[in-house]
């Protein structure tokens, strides 16, 4: 199962036939396993890894540290869910350390992200403070390197 998940995480677009061959499984059995993983919520979705810089220079990604006051009974969950539901929020994690949430926000411009932070995020009652870091360049995302590695220069035939 772990191997199947690794393969899908590397390339969810791979054909079921190719996956089945690698895993030594009949295609039907593979389909069942994937369907089960989807049903159990282990697989949450399939996405493309997009190099935005090749498309336009305007997209802005921000990593926002958020400190919040936990609630009696609910801890961080209710506020975190409230933040995560905004469409601008791409990822949201509860983390250890000097602040509580790291929120990844994407927007069409700097202004758009700034206004999200000042109008939506900071105004939530339990939010104590935010610190916004803007992405300058991507080197690697979800396991995909954005810079090319060593080119193929092996001998075409070797013993």
């Amino acid at each position: 199962m772990e191997t199947l998940l690794r393969l899908l995480q590397q390339d969810s677009n791979a054909s079921r036939e190719d996956l089945a061959r690698q895993l030594n499984l009949p295609v039907g059995e593979l389909n069942n396993r994937i369907a089960a993983l989807e049903k159990e919520g282990v697989i949450r979705g399939y996405q493309a890894i997009v190099d935005r810089e090749r498309l336009d220079q305007n997209t802005v990604t921000a990593f926002i540290e958020v400190r919040i006051t936990p609630e009696r009974g609910g801890g961080f969950d209710r506020i975190a869910h409230r933040i995560a539901k905004f469409d601008q929020v791409v990822s949201c994690y509860l983390i250890s350390g000097g602040y509580d949430l790291i929120v990844v926000v994407q927007g069409g411009s700097l202004r758009e992200v700034a206004s999200f932070v000042s109008e939506k995020l900071s105004t939530i009652e339990s939010v104590i403070s935010t610190a916004t870091h803007f992405r300058l360049k991507t080197y690697k995302e979800n396991g995909a390197l954005f810079t090319s590695d060593v080119p193929e220069d092996r001998l075409p035939v070797s013993p």
Partner: protein, 388 residues
């Protein structure tokens, strides 16, 4: 000038693989399943260790036997992985790839005319290395019906009073064969009975699949004292270009090998030795990652070959399948040349690995799955065309 070349060198035929390489190199857009080295770039943390050693200015010679810390790392790894204990200061020698270690071991052991047994089909260098050390190379054929394992009865038949050593390579290039403990035991018994030295090239030891456990012959009772355990970082850690290998053996033999090594080579490259320390101490996860990838590709290639009517039992080691092409009616060379010309796919004729490789071709899966997929599609077209 020809007449000046030493007779025993002149008489060694050109490598069949070299021949084939030149044809492939003259063509464009060839997809090659003929490559005998990993397609992975050396894991970054290992490359980084080499860079760090350069930054620190560690650019001088090391001791002839290799960095003490590396020899400790080797002894530790061999003990942990293969359950054989060696004394790092006196029983471990760091060489320039396993090839050098084989060469100096043979030169240290052989008197002119001594016979060395080796199983064939095999890696291209064994026969010539024995010859160059003034030994007599005696091949033992291994067969597809035995999963290319070495059989004790075939070996016994070739032992003479002049037999000095046996050269083993499991998992095997080019067949992918592995030897489980019960297959090694009768071989070990013969070596004890006839007082033979074993040179065991275990360069593919990390690359076994389907839970096949690699057993070193050195770990069998009574074998440590007569075995030269040969290994290196090239295949498992994807470090072919680093050229770092090692030999573990009883101290008197290491001492003898060191005499040759110190005058011929002096020491293995220093930055490479630092990279090797990192690889052995922290490389397990990277090796496991590559092994998983090879295993998946192996499944893919075996299933596709069988489907196109090329019988191919699933090999359990290295990164090669030795495909049986006898049903096509072509010789290994004809098959390989026509596949290359008609579909631009390079495989290596089995005969490059010895006459007993006739009827087979070696396909390497140390190539990306995308390339393997296209290569096998083209191969299927070629094979289907032969049957019309």
């Amino acid at each position: 000038m020809e007449d000046k070349i030493a007779a025993h060198v002149r008489d060694i035929p050109r490598s069949g693989i070299r021949d084939f390489f030149e044809i492939v190199q003259s063509m464009h857009d060839v997809i090659s399943l003929g490559i005998g080295e990993p397609d992975f770039v050396t894991p970054w943390h290992i490359r980084e260790a080499a860079l760090f050693s350069l930054e620190k200015g560690r650019t001088g010679y090391t001791s002839n036997l290799g960095l003490p810390k590396l020899r400790e790392a080797i002894a530790g790894y061999v003990s942990r992985q293969f359950h054989v204990d060696y004394h790092a200061p006196s029983e471990v020698l760091v060489s320039v790839g396993v090839s050098e270690a084989i060469d100096i071991a043979l030169r240290a052991l052989l008197n002119p005319g001594d016979e060395v047994l080796f199983h064939e089909p095999c890696y291209v260098s064994y026969g010539p290395s024995i010859t160059l050390a003034h030994g007599k190379a005696v091949s033992i054929p291994v067969h597809g019906k035995d999963n290319f394992q070495l059989r004790a009865d075939e070996m016994a038949r070739r032992i003479t009073p002049k037999t000095k050593a046996l050269l083993l390579n499991f998992p095997t290039n080019p067949t992918g064969a592995t030897m489980p403990r019960e297959a090694l035991e009768p071989i070990a018994a013969l070596c004890v009975q006839h007082d033979l030295i074993v040179l065991s090239d275990e360069i593919y030891a990390e690359l076994t699949y389907d839970g096949a456990e690699h057993v070193s012959i050195a770990a069998l009772p009574g074998m440590r004292e007569r075995t030269v355990f040969l290994h290196g970082l090239s295949k498992g850690w994807a470090m072919t270009g680093f050229r770092v290998g090692y030999a573990c053996a009883p101290a008197p033999l290491i001492e003898a090998m060191m005499k040759i090594h110190q005058y011929a080579i002096l020491c293995a490259p220093t930055m490479t030795q630092y990279a090797a320390i990192e690889a052995l101490e922290h490389g397990d996860a990277a090796v496991a990652h590559m092994r998983e990838k090879y295993g998946l590709r192996r499944n893919f290639i075996v299933s596709a070959l069988n489907e196109m009517g090329i019988p191919c039992p699933t090999p359990r080691g290295a990164f090669y399948v030795f495909a049986d092409i006898r049903a096509t009616g072509l010789t290994s060379r004809e098959f390989s040349l026509r596949l290359l010309e008609e579909q631009k796919v390079a495989v290596v004729p089995g005969t490059a690995f010895g006459a007993d490789g006739e009827g087979f071709v070696r396909c390497s899966y140390a190539t990306s799955l995308e390339q393997i997929k296209i290569a096998l599609q083209r191969m299927a077209v070629f094979v289907a065309g032969l049957k019309c």
